[in-house]
Subunit: 214 residues, 2 copies
Amino acid sequence: MRDEFRADLGEVTRMLVSMAEGVRTAMRDATTALLAPDEALAELVIARDAEINATYRLVEDRVYSLLAQQAPVASDLRLVLTALHMAGDLERMGDLADHVARTARRRLPGCAVPEVLTDVFRQMGDIADRVASKIARALSAADAVAAARLEQDDDAMDELHRTLFKIMFSSDWTEGTEAAVDTALLGRFYERYADHAVNVGRHVVFLVTGEALG
Amino acid sequence: MRDEFRADLGEVTRMLVSMAEGVRTAMRDATTALLAPDEALAELVIARDAEINATYRLVEDRVYSLLAQQAPVASDLRLVLTALHMAGDLERMGDLADHVARTARRRLPGCAVPEVLTDVFRQMGDIADRVASKIARALSAADAVAAARLEQDDDAMDELHRTLFKIMFSSDWTEGTEAAVDTALLGRFYERYADHAVNVGRHVVFLVTGEALG
């Protein structure tokens, strides 16, 4: 039974790695589509979100079978429920990449991001890419240290988010209302993406060490 | 064992009803605090979010014990995992009420909502109140019909959300960038609140009928 449990949990973990890689690609492509702007790439991100959601349902089904067939208790049960939580956060990260792509698409053939903010969004995209990459690596290599370092990236993302608002609310802002609204919503999508990544990171630490982060 | 399972699931359901009532009060008070504006009430909403989060953790613990002690299978297992999902959606609804209250607080002593939008936000608050009330009733009375009707409220919320953007993007908009940004974010908080309510509603239907909504 114990070996079977390990094998099943390994399978669930591989699905989580695949989700993490999927949401990484999704946000990277969404950022490129946003800043280029690139219609075909935006459409691709939107279409691929269905795949991420499908993997999420597979994880749910797998967790359900695992619980039903093996009835794990104690720390094994916690591990399974933790995996379910992580899948939920990853699914949400996919949604947020989809939202970025949809925002990009809505302003075509124009660009949703005014030039004065291109650099801030490029940096937000870089951080999003980094956190998703760390999650994928932490999950596949069971690397709790890499996962714990996500908090620093999250702080950097929050700082960029504040910078966005500073630029928008300065008296120099001449980009108008639509651009401000897009910027506010886009900023929130990136910031939430990093928040969910931090949640996943906390869970990786628990998965690896059996101890919750303080 | 079966009686014990029913009793435990009943206890979890009562916790969910309590969460639904909590997030209903939270969003109602947040809307009042936003439109008045009322600093003390905004602070109260923010402080009370910790209680909703604490109830969420209690539900998680209870579900964990239930799984560990009773190892339910088949439809019983689905019911337990469904309850866990619902608790997650309700927790998020509490966060969104908290976000509305924080937005209200950030613009004090001014009002985050320009007068031209007061009526739209009052209507969004009314719908939020209605969906939360339906969830609480559906959960406590196992009323699948009430839960299924949430979709209509959600459509009405989406329509109001579109109205917000129409007003902001019209050439008459003279409220400036900050008000537009607040409005965009607030609109999203209400819209997401209703989305999560619909999720909870779907789950109530499953809890009651054992069948997923199409």
